[in-house]
């Protein structure tokens, strides 16, 4: 019973991680490299779990969001830089989510001029009209829809023996395509916004330290389910597109290409999954940004507040959704370039966030007895360093092509 009331933040954060960009990356990884990146996904899952656990622990122990703590520990300047990067990265990612909505609905023959405004209104009303408990329930239900990808994976009828073998045997190919995908996989799975969202959502629940063991289950389970889904996306495209040597560039391509190989239902399931992921992302990213900014600057925040109570919170949320949706509707906007730029900003932000998190979680004044143990610190720092190297490469890679 307690578990049920604690459940939510971890599962939701991890699932939203499989957003429009994530699905595209997994689909392309499967199509281009077959089962060759599955082992990397499992490694990344482990890293993600380590980092998410830290964010959740800080949320429970301090009852504050990550930007709160950054503000209180590092002052205004560091906060401002972090916020600016976060706002920019999240805003462009929100654009990507609406692009996902447009692509998914176009597979069903719906024009983006209908689907995007409809999705924008839907997510806007959800937060402006409803309270947090209701929104959280909707999000949890939406997480179940991700299992459509698992179904797609089975429909693709892969050689399971080989899949399992490849998943546990690390193998690196030193080709530019492989390395780029490897880094993109890390970049899309471990993102800065997740740490902010997870910590705020956990803090908002007001859990006591005795209940932390349940939060841990929530976090680990969420990470597992998320990458379980990602695993099946890779398997689905690897078994079909890779096997037939079909190259794709987007998630919508993947859905289209699946149809002749795995049947119409595989395509429909893939498209529904993409739509669901994009709508979820379009809701959670603006929400997460609104929380991060208002908390650290001392403005009122919370989903259950009205425009009058929390003007900055609701205003920021509305602004994000408006810009996100509008960017898709403007013809001729270089969306691909914006996405690439967004990835770069996230790439710069991630090491900053990781270092700040590690400093905070080892600060006894903040965490008391719940600071990282030496063992955890070794794991966390090596995770952070690997991620930093990867993101530096990710940021630099467009310049070498």
């Amino acid at each position: 019973m307690i578990l049920l009331s604690v459940l939510g933040p971890g599962i939701i954060t991890a699932n939203v991680d499989n957003d429009a960009g994530g699905i595209a990356t997994y689909a392309i990884a499967g199509a281009q490299e077959g089962y060759g990146l599955l082992w990397a996904l499992i490694l990344i899952t482990f890293n993600l779990a380590v980092i998410q656990e830290m964010a959740a622990r800080m949320g429970v122990v301090t009852g504050q969001g990550l930007t709160d703590l950054i503000r209180e520990r590092f002052g205004v300047k560091v906060t401002m830089v972090t916020l600016l990067l976060l706002i920019f990265a999240n805003l462009t990612t929100t654009v990507a989510e609406f692009a996902g909505v447009a692509a998914a609905m176009e597979l069903f023959g719906v024009s983006k001029y209908i689907s995007v405004p409809a999705a924008a209104l839907f997510v806007w009303f959800l937060v402006v009209r409803w309270n947090y408990k209701q929104v959280e329930r909707i999000l949890l239900i939406a997480c179940l829809i991700y299992f459509t990808y698992v179904a797609s994976g089975f429909m693709a009828n892969p050689p399971w023996g080989e899949v399992m073998k490849r998943a546990v045997t690390p193998s690196i190919k030193f080709t530019p395509g492989y390395i780029n995908l490897f880094i993109a996989l890390i970049g899309t799975t471990i993102t800065p916004w997740m740490q902010f969202y997870l910590q705020s959502a956990v803090a908002d629940k007001g859990l006591s330290i005795e209940e932390y063991k349940y939060t841990k289950i929530d976090v680990y389970f969420g990470v597992f389910v998320t990458d379980f889904v990602a695993f099946f996306i890779i398997v689905a495209t690897a078994a079909t597109l890779f096997a037939h040597g079909i190259q794709i560039e987007t998630a919508a391509d993947a859905a289209m290409a699946l149809e002749p190989l795995a049947g119409e239902y595989a395509k429909i399931l893939f498209a529904i999954g993409l739509l669901n992921a994009s709508v979820l992302g379009a809701l959670v990213l603006p929400l997460s940004t609104a929380y991060a900014v208002t908390e650290s600057l001392g403005w009122e925040s919370g989903v259950s507040r009205t425009f009058k109570d929390a003007p900055q919170f609701m205003g920021l949320y509305t602004f994000f959704i408006f810009i996100g949706a509008a960017a898709i509707m403007i013809p001729g906007l270089p969306l691909m370039k914006i996405m690439l730029f967004s990835q770069t900003i996230s790439g710069i932000l991630l090491p900053v966030v990781l270092i700040l998190m590690l400093k905070l979680i080892n600060d006894r004044r903040i965490m008391g007895e719940f600071v990282n143990t030496p063992g955890r610190n070794i794991v966390a720092w090596s995770t952070a360093i690997v991620l930093m190297i990867a993101t530096v490469m990710l940021v630099a890679s467009p310049f070498f092509q």
């Binding site: 009852g63 209180e72 408990k133 803090a203 006591s208 001392g298 259950s304």
Partner: protein, 417 residues
């Protein structure tokens, strides 16, 4: 005492400090506070050079302004020391932290702090909680001002004087104890509840601790059940049971229901016998039935009283009950005989007996009736309160309209998120 005027902390931090010989001994990093008359006094400066921390008594400061800070002793006279958690430090404990703005009844964040001279001492005067403070912190105040005046906009000043602020950290309450002034406990309980909803869980109990029991109880009544329970869990058991006793019994029972069983039992044991019995009776009902919704505090009289005697009784009993609009007439077995409204009582002849003016039969529900049924009867007969009875017609408690209204509203919009 050097002339000071008024200064913002952000303009002073990181400024070099010179000793008697003009040697640079480090940069200013913090201030030590002690309680003062109205405003906390600054008793010493904290100066750091790399890892070394020096504390300089205010008496030794010669020059103190935004251009130069110098002291009248030599560096060699000062011994480095560590700062302890017990000490109250201006920057470490206040700057960038959340604080309660009593006047605005909300939680704000301290962007900057203003110090100045008061009764011949350097004191903490005010907190800047506005945009201007933020811009000043990143060192762009004058540029920001030029930019905004170009657009014909003035960046608003948002300074709150220290005597309208209340810190959330228990150790800092010493800084405000002897000030006769606006206090948190003078706010409306609904405002205090709103403030509590904005601050971290661990600070909530501490803030509740600063309130008197009566206000604490009223504040908790304004919050959602799960928040109530988590606060009660944090408080020490004696204080928690006191607060529960002061709450409306139906609210208190809801809180107990949300707590772990052994914690709830412990709190029940600490309550006075009468209150504890009432609570156990309420707890024996399902939460969303009439029994779970009712409160056991109501006005009851016997039918042989005259109106005059009844009014005296109402006057006497009213402090202990939630609503006085209905007076229930009970026989010696507590069976419900009839009901009177306050209006009936006031407009009737003084010498009439209650039996003559009471209404009966009375609209009632049984303890196991569900919420919908209660809602239906209350709205159909436009009642302010609805009595709950057992099989034999004995009065168990009443459900007041506001409780039902609250629950109905809660289905559409939560108390907090």
């Amino acid at each position: 005492m050097p002339y000071i005027g008024e200064l913002f902390v952000s303009e002073l931090l990181k400024k070099p400090v010179l000793d008697k010989m003009g040697e640079d001994i480090g940069v200013l990093t913090d201030f030590i506070l002690v309680p003062g008359d109205t405003f906390p006094k600054i008793s010493a400066l904290v100066v750091s050079r790399r890892k070394k921390v020096l504390v300089i008594d205010w008496e030794a400061v010669k020059l103190f302004n935004r251009h130069i800070i110098s002291i009248s002793i030599r560096e060699s006279d000062l011994a480095p020391r560590e700062m302890s958690e017990e000490e109250m430090l201006l920057c470490r404990d206040l700057l960038d932290k959340q604080i309660v703005d009593i006047d605005g009844a909300k939680v704000v964040r301290v962007n900057d702090l203003k110090v100045g001279e008061f009764h011949g001492h350097l004191c903490l005067m005010a907190a800047d909680v506005g945009l201007r403070g933020l811009i000043r912190r990143i060192g762009l105040e004058s540029q920001g001002e030029r930019l905004s005046s170009f657009f014909g906009y003035k960046i608003p000043r948002n300074l709150i004087s220290w005597n309208y602020l209340q810190s959330l950290k228990p150790k800092l309450t010493r800084l405000t104890l002897n000030i006769p002034r606006h206090k948190l406990s003078e706010l409306h309980p609904a405002d205090i509840a709103h403030i509590l909803s904005q601050i971290p869980q661990k600070d909530r109990a501490a803030l509740i601790d600063t309130l008197d029991v009566e206000t604490a109880a009223e504040t908790l009544e304004e919050m959602g059940t799960s928040d109530q329970a988590s606060i009660i869990e944090e408080l020490d058991a004696e204080h928690a049971s006191d607060i529960l006793e002061h709450m409306a019994p139906d609210e208190a029972a809801d809180v107990l229901q949300d707590l772990p069983t052994d914690k709830a039992n412990d709190l029940l044991q600490r309550m006075e016998k009468e209150g504890a019995d009432e609570m156990e009776e309420l707890l024996s009902h399902e939460e969303d039935t009439a029994g779970g919704l009712m409160t056991t505090e109501y006005l009851s009289l016997t039918k042989d009283l005259t109106v005059r005697e009844a009014i005296d009784q109402v006057r006497l009993l009213s402090p202990n009950v939630e609503t006085v609009y209905y007076i229930y007439i009970l026989d010696k077995d507590e069976k419900l005989q009839g009901v009177l409204s306050l209006r009936d009582l006031i407009v009737s002849q003084q010498d009439n007996t209650l039996e003559e003016i009471m209404t009966h039969p009375v609209k009632t529900v049984r303890a196991d009736a569900d919420e919908k049924e209660v809602e239906r009867i209350i709205s159909k007969y436009r009642l302010i309160a609805l009595p709950v009875v057992d099989e034999e017609g004995r009065l168990l408690g009443i459900i007041t309209m506001d409780d039902i209204l609250y629950r109905t509203l809660n289905h559409t919009k939560g108390k907090r998120g």
